[in-house]
């Protein structure tokens, strides 16, 4: 048995606050511990930022869709945009070194991969990209 919460927001930074509020409520309700809760919130915002920036090119007419799926043993969050996507298979093989201090960007996917139990990219058949994040409850001693 799972319960889903859907959030759709225009591709503007100001709406990330709303996603964060919803995310925190869900995390608290599921009983994730502090560190895991931080990791989920950081990863969801990273994925939403990528979706609105790189996917929807900050076009306010294009929505980012976020689905929080609360399952008995895990939280699954899907973030969808309407962009062209990118070659994630190649990217994941060659994730940039996040400790390269001269880089201003390129740490987001590395952070999500490290903080979540699963990170899955998927090109959608009708266009757009979906990022799926998973965090298990059992790994947090719950």
């Amino acid at each position: 048995m799972s319960a889903d919460i859907l959030v759709a927001f225009p591709s503007e930074y100001k709406y990330l606050n709303l996603v964060d509020l919803v995310c925190n409520e869900i995390i608290d309700g599921m009983g994730f511990q502090h560190e895991a809760a931080n990791e989920i919130a950081i990863s969801v915002i990273e994925a939403c930022t990528n979706a609105l920036e790189h996917g929807n090119k900050c076009c306010p007419e294009e929505n980012v869709h976020v689905i929080f799926s609360m399952q008995p043993d895990r939280l699954v969050v899907e973030i969808q945009d309407h962009g062209e996507g990118f070659d994630f298979k190649d990217y994941l093989k060659h994730i940039p070194d996040p400790t390269n201090i001269h880089k201003q960007r390129g740490r987001g996917i590395f952070i999500m991969k490290r903080m979540m139990d699963a990170l899955i990219f998927e090109m959608l058949p009708d266009g757009g990209m979906k990022v799926k994040l998973e965090k298990m409850l059992s790994k947090n001693g719950n």
Partner: protein, 103 residues
Amino acid sequence: MILDLHGKLMGGPDADNIRDLLHGIIDGGSKKIIVNLGGVNWINSTGVGILMTGYTTMRRNGGDLKLLNVSDRLQSILYVTKLNLIFECFDDEAEAVESFFRE
């Protein structure tokens, strides 16, 4: 010099604004900067990249950049990216200022 940042640090025009601000500070003769993040309620990996660029800019100009009032979330990002080994972070302003005189 203590630089108090407020609001969101998430990319977009923020990167250019902070770079210009730091160059202005260097041009003004200051080379030791403490960035107070106490008023920053939002930061993501791009924001961390902006701080990193600021750090690199200061170091290249013979200066240094340290962080004050780092949130839990930022600490998590710094730890995962190992940038905690680069940035000196403080919870106390006086201690941060003092650290420059100990060097």
